[in-house]
């Protein structure tokens, strides 16, 4: 399933998310149950399946990690179910340090500030991967795709850190 095709968008990392949202709403309108009030059972079922597909596609294209992974998959590089471990020592060292920093935040003199600093540091890494995706996917050759694959793997660690930071924020400040 090529979700770019489903949304009538060019296969590109740099899609306009406003455009995506508009296409999503338009597609969902077509398959809305109200339009199938007098339809056959089979047509209703197909519309429900289509609506689920549109939701899945929107989720995939909305987030940078899954969008990048989807472009790679369209180009024959499958990362979805890989169990291979990452062994880049420099990157992992940084991950360990970031995890340790996060772990120490509750005992910092100003945990709120420390957490904000941490989140902006992680956001900075995520943004720089995002920029890298832009240029790698424009080059669109095998070497760039392989590199983009490595960046998807790294991005997942960063997104996990970001999630952990949000969870800590909830725990510390009881939002």
């Amino acid at each position: 399933m090529n979700y770019f095709e489903l949304f009538a968008l060019p296969v590109s990392f740099d899609i306009d998310t406003g455009d995506l949202k508009a296409k999503y709403l338009e597609l969902q309108r077509h398959v809305h149950p109200d339009n199938f009030a007098n339809a056959t059972e089979r047509e209703r079922l197909l519309a429900v399946q289509k609506a689920a597909q549109i939701n899945d596609g929107f989720d995939v294209l909305k987030h940078i990690d899954s969008r990048a992974q989807h472009i790679l998959s369209i180009n024959g590089i499958e990362l979805a179910h890989e169990t291979q471990t990452l062994k880049d020592p420099m990157f992992l060292m940084q991950q360990m340090e970031l995890r340790e920093t996060l772990e120490d935040i509750p005992s910092a003199s100003d945990p709120e500030q420390a957490l904000m600093d941490f989140q902006s540091e992680v956001d900075g890494y995520i943004k720089s991967i995002n920029r890298l995706f832009s240029s790698l996917f424009q080059q669109a050759d095998q070497v760039s795709f392989e590199k983009a694959g490595d960046e998807v793997r790294k991005l997942k660690f960063m997104l996990k850190l970001s999630q952990e930071a949000v969870a800590l924020e909830d725990k510390l400040f009881d939002f």
């Binding site: 291979q84 990452l86 062994k87 992992l92 060292m93 360990m96 995890r99 793997r153 997942k156 996990k160």
Partner: protein
Amino acid sequence: MAYSEKLLDHYENPRNVGSFDKNDPTVATGMVGAPACGDVMKLQLKISDEGIIEDAKFKTYGCGSAIASSSLVTEWVKGKSLDEAGAISNRDISEELALPPVKIHCSILAEDAIKAAIEDYKAK
């Protein structure tokens, strides 16, 4: 999902948590990460002149199965030679802890951490 008693025990009372000085020439450090879930694992082995693993410590940021897998591994490798430790497979780990299929990658992570530590030692 029901987790085995051994797994819960290692998760609730993890053995050998901590770090050695990575610059110590007798210490081997293996670091691995699982992109699927963002887990990171550091396994350190203290190795005697005779090539026997005298002590082991780990630090894992991840789910309960990843913590239990690394805790188990630190117990298993103690007293083993590097070759013996390198022969520990993810299957041994997942069988011992009765890991559910979706958590097999945690045992792969622990196996790869041992291998990465051995490589680090050989490089030193």
